[in-house]
């Protein structure tokens, strides 16, 4: 996308479009990424509740994949995940590995 010049920006930096934060992808800050291990998941949805962003998707009442466009890698989901019999369903991995 071509960046706008100073003559084209909105006066006062007012954003006149609703829901435009969706276009602002914040997942590029991440140093660690959460990995979902589906076989250990008990569908408690704690990760969805605790995620400070909207990086965990729920589909038909069930946990779906991470939305890495908005995941900042904070690791709260991995910390809160009770797992199945002590085996975590979310683990943090170094980004780019």
């Amino acid at each position: 996308m071509k960046l706008k010049g100073w003559k084209e920006v909105n006066p006062g930096a007012v954003i006149t479009e609703a829901g435009s934060a969706l276009k602002f992808k914040t997942g590029s800050w991440r140093a660690f990424r959460p990995k979902w291990i589906e076989e250990n998941c008990i569908q408690c949805l704690f990760c969805w509740i605790y995620c400070p962003d909207m990086a965990i998707k729920v589909k038909d009442g069930k946990r779906a994949e991470f939305d890495y466009d908005y995941c900042k890698g904070c690791g709260i989901c991995a910390l809160e995940c009770p797992g199945k019999k002590g085996n975590k369903a979310i683990v943090m991995e170094e980004e780019g590995k």
């Binding site: 100073w6 920006v9 006066p11 006062g12 930096a13 007012v14 954003i15 006149t16």
Partner: protein, 393 residues
């Protein structure tokens, strides 16, 4: 002609605000502004205005409330002085950066420390580069007139910028002067209906104010904001022309007094300009060609226009009622120096700091300065470029 009254500067400006009848006023008392907002609060309490008063717990909150109310779509005012303006500092930038046409009388007062409540320009000078328009006023009449014009300037669709109306603490705010009030109806028609632009309360068209702008765009927004400032002078002159029609009083970007054929001149802001004019008359009667330039639109500073009227002089003294603690010249001096900088033949400039913390500026001070300028014009020699007037050794 409207009603002639004897009122203080604070009373006159409060009256202007009553006539404008803004939607929201956030108020926090600070000397010497207190009396202005108190009078306005009385108008609100007695139903003379429909203004929603927000009585906040600090000036930081006052300006924050103004930003919120203005973004919501209201015509908004507040007023302050000194430390109050200093406490607003970070929100001043948010108001101008968000292009919110807030109007704020600033009753000029010295900054601490040491604590001092008297007239001095340190407060507004500290806020001169925060993106607000600044109009300065010599007396209560000008403060009243500027306050009314400020709304039209701020709310102009080409600009949408906040405006400070500066008037000297105590000397103007608390002295009683003869002034002419305009009729309520005239003022109401002059300022007109407030036109909202991107109001937050328009739920049909949702907007966000104050977004995070990263390095990829911040500079573009600031460049665009600087561009808006270049349009201000024309708007100020247009509004002044319309104001002259209803008041008979003429305003420009600055006032010149006997400057056209002058050889020496003073540049001075606000109330001290009046004192100086009398002394200029005395010098003129002695055959000395002296004149005065009194800036009115101080931000954005009309460098080109001021340079044009000053360039032919031989010697000019810029008098600052605020010091600069970078061991440098006073703020007004630096702007005047910049405005004559482009010219090959230009006057010799000197700088005097006067009247800090409310110390009197007397006719004999102007005399001393003018005599020194006569000497400089004759010899081309300057003893000291920056000096203090009326300070004890």
């Amino acid at each position: 002609m409207g009603k002639v009254v004897a009122v203080t500067g604070n009373e006159a400006v409060a009256e202007a605000l009553r006539q404008v009848n803004p939607d929201v006023c956030a108020a926090y008392p600070i000397t010497p502004q207190t009396d202005m907002m108190q009078r306005f609060a009385v108008f609100a309490n007695n139903g003379k205005v429909k203004t929603e008063m927000i009585l906040v717990e600090s000036e930081h909150s006052a300006m924050s409330a103004c930003v919120g109310a203005s973004a919501a779509g209201g015509r908004v005012v507040t007023a302050t002085s000194s430390q109050g303006l200093a406490l607003m500092w970070e929100i001043l930038f948010i108001a101008s950066g968000s292009r919110l046409p807030i109007v704020m009388p600033v009753v000029n007062r010295a900054l601490s420390a040491p604590l001092n409540i008297h007239g001095d320009h340190s407060d507004a000078m500290g806020a001169r580069d925060c993106g607000w328009i600044q109009l300065w006023s010599e007396n209560a009449q000008e403060a009243y007139d500027n306050a009314i014009q400020a709304f039209r300037i701020a709310e102009h669709m080409d600009i949408r910028l906040p405006v400070m109306v500066c008037l000297d603490g105590f000397i103007i705010s608390h002295s009683i002067e003869r002034i002419e009030y305009l009729d309520d109806e005239l003022v109401k028609n002059f300022v007109g209906e407030y036109k909202q632009l991107n109001p937050l309360l328009d739920v049909e068209h949702p907007v966000s104010y104050g977004p995070l702008i990263l390095p990829d765009y911040y500079m573009e927004f600031r460049r665009a904001q600087a561009e808006v400032m270049t349009k201000v002078a024309d708007v100020v002159l247009d509004v002044a022309k319309d104001f002259e029609k209803i008041s008979g009083r003429k305003y420009g970007l600055f006032e010149t007094y006997r400057l056209d054929d002058a050889e020496i001149g003073l540049v001075i802001l606000n109330s001290a300009a009046g004192t100086s004019k009398d002394v200029i008359d005395e010098f003129r009667s002695k055959g000395i060609k002296a004149g005065i330039l009194k800036p009115r639109l101080y931000r954005p500073f009309p460098y080109k226009e001021i340079g044009e009227v000053l360039k032919h002089l031989k010697a000019v003294c810029v008098l600052d009622r605020a010091d600069a603690f970078g061991a440098s010249y006073g703020p007004l001096f630096m702007d005047i120096a910049s405005s004559i900088y482009p010219y090959k033949d230009k006057p010799i400039l000197i700088n005097k700091i006067y009247g800090l913390g409310g110390r009197d500026y007397l006719p004999e001070h102007a005399e001393l300065v003018l005599n020194e300028l006569v000497e400089i014009a004759k010899t081309g020699k300057v003893k000291t470029f920056k000096e203090y007037i009326g300070v004890r050794e």
